[in-house]
């Protein structure tokens, strides 16, 4: 493990660099193939609307993966992530145009554990101005 962030330099309230992740239909098709999750709600508009969704929605695990990048880009070594959890509270709706949707992620250090030299990072993950993940937290081992 080689976190490039030093535990001693981080304070409760430290903000991680925020990031926005665009997501298009093509991204969802690619993610379906890579992950093996071919649920048609993630690529078939007719099917998605048939089960009561407003449109095709992103895989929850895709959103979870994008949000993690704010943490792994900050710490440098993704192997420093000790715990990561989210609640899927609202779908990311992805329209069939060349813009798609945007997942916006902000994060800050919410707790420090001196014994384990870990910090808990709380993430806020939004799309269209509304939270799409809840209880989104990562515990990271720092140098």
């Amino acid at each position: 493990m080689a976190a490039r962030i030093s535990y001693d330099e981080v304070e409760i309230g430290t903000e991680l660099p925020a990031c926005s992740f665009p997501v298009t239909r093509a991204d969802l098709v690619r993610y379906a193939g890579a992950s093996g999750d071919f649920n048609p709600i993630h690529w078939n508009e007719k099917f998605a609307k048939g089960v009561g969704l407003p449109d095709v929605i992103a895989h929850g695990m895709f959103t979870m993966a994008e949000a993690a990048r704010v943490v792994t880009d900050w710490v440098g070594d993704p192997g420093a992530v000790a715990e990561y959890g989210v609640r899927f509270t609202r779908p990311v709706v992805v329209p069939n145009d060349d813009k798609g949707a945007v997942i916006e992620v902000t994060a800050k250090v919410a707790a420090k554990d001196d014994e384990r030299r870990t910090v808990r990072v709380d993430l806020v993950v939004k799309s269209e101005g509304q939270k799409v993940l809840g209880m989104s937290r990562a515990v990271v081992r720092l140098a």
Binding site: M1, A2, D27, Y31, P78, R87, F88
Partner: protein, 150 residues
């Protein structure tokens, strides 16, 4: 109909090994748009102290979710999969998943709750490598929405 509480604690047999390949990790990293070289370049991974390229944190879900399929499709449990949505997902890592791992998963039903008519099922997936060492534990909560009144 509410799920049977007596299934809490039920453990399913270990899965056949899933062999983690470098190219599968690369494909996954590209699919999430993550260009961190630790996912694709063995030398970059070694520079961070890893024996080979590692996988992004959520990669292992593909492995644990397939294993949880044994629970979801258990006819005795009787979960209505057509009504299932993913509620929560958590991972606790002993180390990152890496290329060359041969991972097996043992799934256990950790809890069954009924909330506002919905069945809420939490499955724990313990992931071990070919040496029997713990790699990661995944907690997956599935919510089966209540059936509409006929």
């Amino acid at each position: 109909m509410a799920l049977d509480q007596s299934f809490v604690g039920r453990t399913y047999p270990a899965t056949d090994p899933y062999e983690v390949g470098r190219e599968k990790i690369r494909e996954f990293a590209e699919a999430i748009g993550d260009t961190n070289p630790v996912y694709t370049d063995p030398e970059a991974a070694k520079a961070l102290g890893h024996p080979d390229v590692i996988a992004p944190p959520t990669f292992v879900f593909s492995v644990t979710y397939r294993a949880a399929g044994a629970v979801v499709s258990d006819p005795q449990l009787g979960l209505d999969y057509s009504r299932v949505v993913h509620g929560d997902q958590k991972f606790a890592y002993a180390r990152p998943v890496r290329a060359g791992d041969r991972l097996t998963v043992v799934s256990t039903i950790e809890s069954i709750k009924s909330l506002a008519g919905n069945d809420v099922l939490t499955v724990r997936g313990e992931v071990r490598d070919e040496h029997g060492e713990h790699v990661v534990t995944a907690h997956t909560t599935l919510v089966a929405r209540a059936a509409e009144e006929a």
